[in-house]
């Protein structure tokens, strides 16, 4: 049972929040959210001392180091995301706080199971459990035309990608005659055409979920129209879950056959980095800017994936942690500014440094981390990923990535220029909800601590990635 402790915990928390929703009365029911946030924090703390457990359900569910690493990340990110969303204004969030939080927890449960899934059926079910609540959450403000439209786009693209993925999984099953991933790894070196075809289709399905280049169209629209604290969470955790599942399906136990994925991943990484960075340049809406820059970051992680080595995998894990803190933090600052100014346009950031110096400093830290400047987390993340790729001999990919990092720095610094150099439209402070401030603070701490002292996390990532190969 101990192997399922976190999953059972999230399930019990959902039940608790559900009962609270049933007894809640009145128009402001946001206190239900506090239950969810406190429960997630408790589970995060519970996850820290857990140690790997033997495989369960006939090998379909495995609680190894990689799963635990990922689960801690998902829980911590969800806690920060929930903190940021606690004070969301607007009638749906007041009245339907219970639904919002149950949906987030349901998606979290899907991610937790996904990190442990070593069976095609469990993998697919967990993947959908993660995805389906996200469609609903994107359109949560169901009276706003933009929000439901974004939800529909997200849903259509997401479910088509799920169908492609399921189609691929059916070929994988047909080729290896078992649903266990160990069977897939065993059959891979033979290079059966049916298996390769299936795995490529599945890769396409994953590409949609992590928003790699040709499959990224839903990202900017969904991010722009969905509630920002949810977007902060959406932009990091499901992608982290997608990467962990990628490692399981394509790396674990495959031996030398992993090299088959190098050109696929390297090609996808190239396209994603170039497209994401170039499309981010002309953006004037902060959320769309972060959406495109997020696509570029997925490309950098795919560089680490293309290294197909233990160190490459470990560095992607480190990158994911740095990205969780940096990207979530940036979105949460956008939320704070947008709530005060009523606009997500970059002009809303003018003179933020004079109005709210600490908030501007936090934003600067996040932008520097995303841009990859030394002594914040993102610098090490990029450096390590490039190093892993160079070790694998992918020099041109490293060169291209480094070149486009400069482009990325340009649009990040435009935001910084608005905050620090331009004159503010008003001198009043930007009001900040205490819980939103706490969430921003946690992200800023993460970025700084990982930037100054990354070693323990790097070691941990290397330790959990080694058994995959």
């Amino acid at each position: 049972m101990i192997a399922f402790a976190l999953e059972i915990g999230v399930g019990a928390l959902m039940l608790l929040v559900f009962i609270a929703t049933l007894v809640a009365r009145g128009d402001d029911r946001r206190w239900v959210g506090w239950l969810a946030a406190a429960g997630t924090l408790a589970l995060t703390l519970l996850a820290l001392p857990l140690s790997p457990a033997p495989a369960q359900l006939g090998g379909a569910f495995v609680q190894d180091g990689l799963a635990l690493f990922a689960k801690r990340l998902f829980l911590a990110a969800t806690f920060i995301g929930l903190l940021g969303g606690l004070s969301l204004p607007g009638r749906p969030f007041l009245r339907r706080a219970g639904e919002y939080h149950i949906l987030v927890l349901a998606s979290l449960l899907g991610m937790l199971v996904l990190a442990s899934a070593r069976d095609l059926v469990l993998l697919f079910v967990a993947f959908e459990l993660m995805s389906i609540p996200l469609y609903i959450l994107a359109g949560f403000a169901k009276r706003e035309a933009g929000a439901v439209e974004a939800a529909l786009k997200f849903f259509l693209v997401g479910s088509v990608s799920s169908a492609v993925m399921a189609y691929g999984l059916s070929f994988v099953y047909g080729a290896v005659r078992t649903t266990s991933l160990a069977g897939v790894a065993k059959a891979m070196p033979d290079g059966d055409g049916l298996l390769i075809l299936g795995l490529l289709a599945v890769f396409g399905g994953f590409g949609f979920k992590i928003a790699a280049f040709p499959f990224h169209m839903w990202v900017p629209d969904t991010y722009e129209a969905a509630p920002t604290p949810f977007v902060a969470w959406l932009s990091v955790t499901p992608k982290a879950a997608g990467f962990v599942a990628l490692f399981r399906v394509y790396f674990e136990g495959m031996g030398t056959a992993v090299s088959f994925w190098v050109p696929v991943a390297a090609g996808l990484a190239t396209l994603t980095i170039v497209a994401g960075n170039l499309m981010a340049l002309p953006q004037q809406n902060a959320k769309r800017l972060l959406a495109y820059s997020g696509i570029a970051h997925i490309g950098y992680m795919l560089v680490g994936f293309a290294a197909t080595s233990a160190s490459g995998t470990a560095m992607v894990l480190f990158y994911l942690v740095a990205y969780v803190f940096g990207n979530m933090g940036a979105f949460l600052v956008v939320e704070a500014v947008a709530r005060s100014e009523g606009s997500e346009h970059l002009a809303a950031f003018r003179g933020l440094a004079q109005r709210s110096p600490l908030l501007a400093l936090a934003m600067l830290l996040f932008l520097l981390s995303l841009g990859g400047i030394p002594f914040v987390a993102g610098f090490w993340a990029k450096l390590y990923v490039f190093w892993a790729a160079a070790t694998a001999g992918l020099y041109w990919l490293v060169l291209l990535g480094a070149l486009l990092t400069v482009v990325a720095l340009f649009y990040y610094l435009i935001v910084a220029k608005r905050m620090y150099i331009e004159a503010p439209p008003a001198t009043t402070r930007v009001p900040l909800e205490p819980m939103l401030a706490l969430a921003v603070l946690l992200c800023a701490l993460g970025v700084v601590i990982l930037g100054v002292y990354p070693k323990p996390l790097v070691m941990a990532a290397l330790r959990v990635a080694a058994p995959l190969f």
Partner: protein, 117 residues
């Protein structure tokens, strides 16, 4: 042939159920027909007119609920077939599953989805 005896008994029971319940209803109910009651009934839609009418959105909500409970049967059938060898643990697993789906029903009820507006 005796293997088909249960089928025969079932067939008789089914026919008898229909005949008996209609006959009892015929005898027991009051009969006061009027124009509205005698009109053809088709799920609340106008029975005569173009087929491309807009249905009240309430139908879709009920349909959504129906489809979810309908699909429960997908898991119930194989479960029922192997219940005996698997024993009591399988029973409780399914009870938990139906319980979770039941929570959804309770919520729909609380939100007033089942009331016709």
């Amino acid at each position: 042939m005796s293997a088909y005896l249960p089928v025969l008994i079932f067939a008789v029971l089914i026919v008898a159920f229909g005949v008996v319940s209609l006959a009892v209803a015929r005898l027991a109910r009051p009969s006061r027909p009027d124009v509205v009651k005698l009109a053809n009934y088709e799920c609340g839609a106008e029975p005569i007119g173009p087929a491309w009418v807009r249905f009240p959105v309430g139908f879709y909500l009920v349909a959504l609920l129906f489809i979810i409970f309908d699909t429960l049967a997908v898991f119930l059938f194989p479960w029922a077939l192997v219940l005996k060898p698997l024993g009591l643990s399988a029973f409780w697993v399914m009870a938990a599953f139906i319980g979770i789906v039941g929570l959804g029903w309770i919520y729909a009820y609380r939100e007033g989805v089942l009331e016709w507006k």
